[in-house]
Symmetry: C2
Subunit: 479 residues, 2 copies
């Protein structure tokens, strides 16, 4: 393995990273459960102290109407140094069903796995493990470059409500817009394709949701007296939802694809090189014999690069034991849409309404509840110098060339688009989680060698970003 | 109004009928609620006493594993007199939502309505009111004909679990088959088309039910990671149920219509003469702007003479507040089928299984739970002399000619087919309920002038049945 000053430092001090992660995972910072609010506060306090200890001269805990965020800033002494903002979250998912955990979720436990040593615990990967690499990474950067301050001004904003939908995050960004001003956002809340496959996430999907209610008779009717002669809202709902996709697997909302940015040739090629064992993937939690979806796209493209519609819940009529011979008065469905750049979540409500109206049988009334907001999709600019800096950093950490760093897409949704839009800064994704880290599930784990690689990549990143010529940076910021 | 001895007696003693009904309705014999079991027993006791008082020499309360039935027999002194069995039920529906009742459900109250005086109370129509006409009717028959015993041997079997699905009725019929032996069954649990439209029900629909479970992933999946790439059981259920009817409104189960007896020309013609204000009907509880259903049939034919399929309940995935971005592991639906002669409820389970298999997308597993049993449809033989006797009786009570008595069909289902099959006797329907009696709903009522007509028709019926020549009866019994 080739040596570098950054690598040497990271390897020499990797126990510090492990100790930090162990201490942080022991704090059950579950934001969804109000009874854990004091633990989320404790997690913020721990993180603030860790940032101070790392050397950040400014560290603040920012309260919100919900859980607190942590802000830190370490200005570069270099004139004109770029400003980078690291984003992540210090809250974690609930642990139910707790009986499925082999080791207690908040007693981090080392386990030897097939790919190397793992640390098990809630948050070990999402997001404490993925974030913690920056503490050691920044120290390695300073030690390797012999500097007293980072080569770029490093700001950090770690929120405490990401696992609860980041309800106060956009307002926090608006409020502290000046102090958060930056040239580039480094999102550390994602993963790579596999332990031996260095890769970078290039986009995250957005989210919009709608609840549809169909109404027929004023009251539940006796199916003996009325059956076969009046519209049944459950039949109407079935027909409606059956028409949500066409025979090509495309979502049928009018205008749904209008703003979809097509996959570029380079990205598609790099995504296509990600090794993906579809049968193994299907045999996992999907427990499916087949992959389905939009025609003309691979499974990885369907889950990352294409917008989708999924019915998440459907109900109406009698659902108890035995049977009840009614035509129910109402039928309900919950549908969510995953969006990709440049779709806008606020467009979806109107599209759903138009679509429902177009499919409504006579005699059925519809009500569509589509809350404002939603989550916007976001995407990196693959051609920007910032992206080159990221790919260089990852390549060095993984002993490969930047052209071998593959691209992946994150199918899930987070507040990253708010960072890009409110701070008007491009997004880079540096995260070393793995697809089988079991985040949000029992027995969450992180692969420890990935954290070592992550700390190295983080260390390289500050040097790489600083090395961009000012001209590059102006161009990049212009995106 | 022309006079007859039967009519004179009924009119002179109508207060007895009203007093009987008042006393019986005061007993809250709700069979569905176990806490009312003593009241169902009290109802049986009251009825047994009323039958004794009417003159039946044999009156017995027959226990079942559920609520008791009442049996009575009054043999005719005439050699070779036919044997008729009156069927009905002494239990009633629950009264929820009780706050919607204008008068307390078990305090029978007279109300002056647009069509004459009404009696309000649970069971006032279904089935205590419809049944009670036989007490006065039989007394009128004896008084008018000057006989000590009826002209036909009258047997009575009044069950106590009809509103709970008659779970022990078929076994009771099997057990007492010998004592229940009869030439014809007179079902008194139905109604007529309108107060001024004498009519006879000719058939009741049967019932079969199925619960369908579709399974996809082993567990609920995150729609960000899996959305758009694996089969969603809710999508599969929507497509399946959307295919339950074709574009002609016909049920798509393979073989579903094979045994359906087509509507005869005479019956269709007589059904077509039933005055039916479709707009008023739709504006009632259906609250619908449109009637829909199988093409080529009227609303009355759709609800009475044609088999139907209705989804009664559907559920799966997340149904709580807000949204949850899952692809659920399972989807469920409950479907019931109304059947007409000569469909067999036991055929439906296999038809549903074949239909589900034919519509199942790859990657979705199906489970169909179709309990054995169900309710068989039943129908009168319109050409039999028994039917002529019924039409004559109704015509006399309504001062019209037998050819003016219209035919209707009962869309609901009951244990009548068991009577026909186990006792091997043809069915006649004599019932004076009305479509707007609000049976099973708050503010159930009966129109008192209909009870007067019913008692007259019941009085005429025994004479009319006895007047059939033995040759007619042999022919009729052969059906």
């Amino acid at each position: 393995m080739p040596s570098s000053a950054e690598r040497d430092f990271v390897h020499a001090h990797i126990d510090d990273l492990h100790a930090d992660l162990d201490a942080w995972v022991r704090i059950p910072s579950i934001s969804a459960d109000p009874s854990f609010a004091p633990e989320v506060e404790r997690s913020a306090t721990w993180l603030a102290e860790a940032l101070r200890r790392t050397g950040f001269p400014t560290v603040e805990i920012w309260p919100t109407p919900g859980a607190p965020a942590v802000f830190a800033e370490w200005p570069s002494a270099d004139d004109g140094a770029p400003v980078a903002l690291v984003y992540g979250h210090h809250d974690v998912q609930p642990v139910d069903p707790v009986e499925l955990w082999v080791h207690p979720p908040f007693e981090p436990t080392r386990v030897d796995g097939p790919d190397g040593p793992e640390l098990h615990g809630r948050g070990a990967s999402d997001d404490k493990g993925v974030l913690v690499v920056h503490l050691l990474g920044l120290r390695a950067h300073l030690a390797a470059t012999g500097r007293d301050t980072p080569a770029v001004t490093v700001k950090v904003l770690i929120e405490g409500e990401e696992e609860s939908g980041s309800p106060h995050f956009a307002a926090l960004l608006e409020e502290h817009q000046d102090r958060l001003a930056c040239d580039v956002v480094v999102v550390s809340d994602t993963g790579m394709a596999a332990p031996d496959i260095p890769s970078a996430v290039t986009a995250m999907r957005g989210l919009a949701d709608a609840e549809i209610t169909l109404r027929g008779p004023a009251v539940d009717l006796h199916s003996g007296s009325f059956g076969g002669a009046v519209p049944n809202p459950l039949h109407a709902m079935a027909s409606l939802l059956a028409a949500l996709h066409d025979d090509q697997g495309r979502v049928t909302l009018p205008g749904f694809y209008d703003k979809v940015r097509p996959l570029g040739e380079r990205e598609r090629e790099l995504m296509g090189r990600v090794p993906f064992d579809e049968q193994a993937w299907l045999a996992g939690p999907a427990a499916s014999r087949v992959a389905t979806g939009e025609q003309g796209f691979t499974t990885l493209e369907r889950t990352g690069a294409r917008p989708t519609a999924e019915v998440n819940g459907m109900w109406g009529g009698y659902t108890g034991p035995g049977h009840k011979t009614i035509i129910p008065a109402e039928a309900h469905a919950k549908v969510t849409f995953r969006l990709v750049a440049d779709q806008r979540p606020e467009d979806v409500a109107e599209q759903v309404r138009a679509w429902v109206d177009a499919h409504l049988p006579e005699g059925i009334e519809a009500e569509v509840h589509a809350p404002p907001g939603g989550v916007a999709p976001c995407a990196s600019d693959l051609g920007s110098p910032w992206m080159d800096a990221l790919l260089n950093s990852i390549a060095q950490a993984f002993d490969t060339d930047p052209g071998s760093v593959l691209f992946t897409r994150e199918g899930g949704s987070g507040p990253e688009a708010d960072l890009a839009e409110i701070l008007r800064a491009p997004l880079l994704f540096l995260g070393v989680g793995l697809p089988n880290d079991r985040i949000h599930s029992p027995n969450e784990r992180v692969l420890l060698p990935m954290l070592t690689r992550g700390a190295e990549a983080a260390a390289h990143l500050w040097r790489e970003l600083a090395a961009l010529r000012p001209r590059d940076r102006v161009d990049a910021a212009g995106h």
